[in-house]
């Protein structure tokens, strides 16, 4: 934990402990003036089970300033889901970066609708003057039609959709049209990525719509500037460095983690133990 992170973490803990909208973290101990790192490491870990068990709202801001997200990637697990939230003004960083890096003209979004990523995708594309094309996971030939007809040059999708789409586009001689592929994968999974001619980045989401970091190989993740991560033999602990709509304070994910910190960024790899442990 460096000084800048300590300041940010301290602010988040105070924000959460005194929040007027949610009592989720009200039981945390008082933040000491010194020895913050020691204090922080002793904070009880949070789990999805605890989030689910919380009686009140999890949202740390006014209800009308957020959009709701679901905690489960698989729609079959809705009996276990928790409603999380993100600010309606949130911009999708990886999408914005790729738009600028490749001078993207039109971007196709093929993600399950219950992930609620459409509005953030739309908003980010609009902010950068890019035509957005939202699709859900159905209509395989329609995706091809979009690429052919509408000049799509960026695709944001799941690993499975990317596999199918890249193969199909290659068969039609259209694969090179896509200059940027952004693959969304659940944190702790290692996606099977196809070879493509354009750039490919994998964004690892801790919950659908909540990215934790980006990798190019699906394994070594560059942690987002918005989070702080610790690890031990049991797994990783994720804490928000910003006052998120639902801030995480030592959110625990069971599995095997290896963290390599560099001066520029924290790089880590993580394999989720099992989904039951997560939820």
């Amino acid at each position: 934990m460096n000084k800048k992170q300590e300041i940010a973490l301290r602010e988040v803990v105070v924000f959460a402990k005194t929040n007027v909208y949610s009592t989720l973290y009200h039981a945390l101990p008082e933040v000491p003036d010194d020895t913050f790192e020691e204090f922080f490491q002793k904070l009880p870990p949070l789990s999805v089970k605890k989030l689910r068990a919380h009686a009140g709202s999890l949202v740390h801001s006014a209800d009308t300033k957020v959009r709701y997200l679901l905690s489960e990637f698989d729609f079959k697990n809705m009996d276990k889901t928790v409603l999380l939230a993100q600010s309606v003004s949130a911009e999708w960083d990886i999408v914005a970066r790729e738009i600028k890096a490749h001078n993207i003209h039109s971007a196709l979004h093929i993600l399950p609708k219950h992930w609620q990523t459409g509005p953030m995708f739309y908003r980010t594309c609009r902010a950068h003057g890019v035509i957005s094309m939202p699709l859900t996971s159905a209509n395989e030939e329609t995706k091809v039609h979009f690429v052919k007809e509408a000049g799509v040059d960026m695709i944001v999708s799941t690993p499975e959709e990317v596999q199918w789409t890249a193969t199909r586009l290659r068969e039609l001689g259209l694969e090179e049209n896509i200059r940027s592929w952004v693959v969304i994968a659940p944190l702790g999974t290692v996606p099977d990525l196809p070879e493509v001619s354009g750039d490919m980045h994998v964004e690892h989401h801790v919950f659908p719509g909540i990215p934790l970091g980006v990798s190019t190989d699906g394994v070594n993740v560059r942690l987002s500037d918005e989070y702080f991560v610790e690890s031990d033999e049991k797994g990783i602990y994720i804490t928000s460095l910003e006052k998120h709509a639902v801030p995480f304070i030592r959110l625990f994910m069971p599995g095997h983690a290896e963290i390599k910190s560099t001066r520029q960024a924290c790089i880590f790899s993580f394999t989720l133990e099992n989904n039951e442990g997560r939820i």
């Binding site: 209800d63 009308t64 957020v66 959009r67 709701y68 679901l70 729609f75 079959k76 809705m78 009996d79 889901t81 928790v82 409603l83 309606v88 003209h105 039109s106 979004h109 399950p112 609708k113 219950h114 609620q116 459409g118 509005p119 739309y122 908003r123 594309c125 609009r126 003057g129 035509i131 957005s132 094309m133 939202p134 699709l135 859900t136 209509n139 030939e141 329609t142 039609h145 979009f146 007809e149 509408a150 000049g151």
Partner: protein
């Protein structure tokens, strides 16, 4: 009731500007080609009803024949999104460049929407168009399987929704699951979208949800938004009729068989719309929506003029009922599979009725043309039922076994119904 725009000076001026913009447009020559038969000196004359009637009707086929970039009337950085209309079951998808228009937050707010779950096909961008009223939204896909409704009901409970926006058929199917979650009475507002609400569905929805506020929104992907609007009379009366908002489109009605402009008094007509605002990526000129309307009230007590009821599709091509519904192409495939017994000439008549226990039951009667005398219609019914694919990937026979619908009935087609849309034989009828 005005049926042609030339009788209204305000509308006429707006149309003149739209026509001027599309005919001089530097980005697309779509309308210069489409209207070339009636151009005089590079302009279109429509100062009389007869001249307006000469402006050719625009169909979906006219649009899909031209690639989307060749029909963008604004620079591409002014296009917000490209949406797709159709494209299922072999139909060529129509890509529509769009820019959001209007603020559609007022009506939901008036209706009492505070937290709404939308359960619709395609990706809803309602958040962008509606947040102005301070309400909150969550979205789910249109479920392909009935079992998804259980999960959706749970999420609606978690979200503490007081409103649901969905196809009427989904709202009916969702009600028992909401009852099991203990929240059906918490749903105060039902917004119906994507298909018309039949009288039977309306009756059932009012019973199942304990007299909720009902309103039907009407819009088209091609039109880039919603422009059918319920008024206070509709909301108080739980009516499914609505006004066609006239700021963005001029609405007229035609006979769907002949294409002639008609007055809706005492009859049904197909809605045709023309953009009244320039600046849209693809303005519509006399676009055949394919939707049938009747006039419910010439002059509504709210002061917004005529009020309409949508009665169906001119070329009904799909049914959304249970298990993902089915498309007319699925029916054609099933009939084709029995071609040794029956010809391709058939009609499918769909009925919904309310049975004991507030159950909506869908039934399908297939009227077929046998190739020979005395064929076993029960055998044909069994074969067709097993062959008719539903959107969920199951078959009609599976749905019958699960009591989602009544067994298919097959009878001999006598006195085929009038030819419908564009002269094509119509296969699907909804009652």
């Amino acid at each position: 009731m005005v049926t042609v725009p030339v009788q209204n000076q305000g509308v006429l001026q707006k149309l003149q500007e739209v026509f001027r913009q599309v005919l001089k447009n530097p980005h697309s020559d779509f309308y210069r080609k489409h209207l070339q038969g009636i151009l005089h000196g590079g302009a279109v004359q429509f100062h009389s009803p007869a001249e307006w009637a000469r402006v050719p009707l625009l169909t979906r086929d006219d649009i899909t024949s031209v690639s989307v970039h060749k029909r963008m009337f604004v620079p591409s950085d002014e296009v917000e999104t490209i949406r797709v209309s159709g494209g299922t079951s072999g139909r060529h998808p129509l890509l529509v460049p769009r820019k959001m228009f209007g603020d559609y937050s007022a009506l939901p707010h008036r209706a009492g929407v505070r937290r709404q779950a939308t359960v619709l096909n395609g990706l809803s961008l309602t958040e962008e168009s509606r947040r102005g009223d301070g309400s909150n939204y969550i979205m789910f896909s249109y479920p392909a399987k009935n079992e998804d409704l259980k999960n959706i009901a749970r999420l609606i409970r978690l979200f503490r929704a007081n409103s649901i926006c969905a196809y009427p058929s989904i709202l009916v199917s969702l009600a028992p699951h909401l009852e099991k979650e203990g929240i059906v009475r918490e749903i105060e507002v039902l917004e119906m979208s994507g298909e018309r609400c039949s009288p039977a569905q309306r009756t059932l929805l009012l019973k199942l949800y304990n007299n909720p506020v009902l309103f039907q929104n009407y819009g088209l992907i091609e039109a880039a938004g919603i422009f059918g609007e319920s008024c206070s009379v509709c909301l108080e009366g739980r009516l499914t009729s609505f006004h066609l908002q006239d700021s963005y489109f001029f609405s007229e009605f035609i006979d769907p068989d002949t294409g002639e402009s008609i007055d809706l008094s005492g009859r049904e007509g197909e809605l045709v719309i023309t953009s009244l605002e320039g600046g849209q990526p693809f303005p519509l000129i006399r676009y055949r929506t394919g939707d049938l309307f009747r006039l419910e009230e010439e002059s509504c007590a709210c002061g917004m003029g005529p009020r309409f009821e949508m009665t169906g599709r001119a070329a009904l091509d799909r049914v959304r009922a249970f298990d993902g519904g089915f498309h007319v192409v699925h029916l054609e495939n099933a009939v084709h599979g029995c071609r040794e017994y029956i010809t391709e000439d058939f009609e499918a008549h769909c009925y919904e009725r309310i049975e004991a226990g507030n159950q909506m039951r869908f039934s399908l009667e297939l009227r077929v043309t046998p190739r020979k005398e005395n064929i076993d219609l029960d055998m044909i019914a069994e074969r067709l039922s097993s062959a008719l694919e539903l959107g969920s990937g199951r078959t009609y026979a599976d749905a019958v076994r699960d009591a989602l619908c009544l067994p298919m009935r097959v009878v001999v087609l006598k006195n085929p119904t009038r030819r419908g849309y564009g002269g094509k034989h119509r296969h699907l009828f909804r009652h």
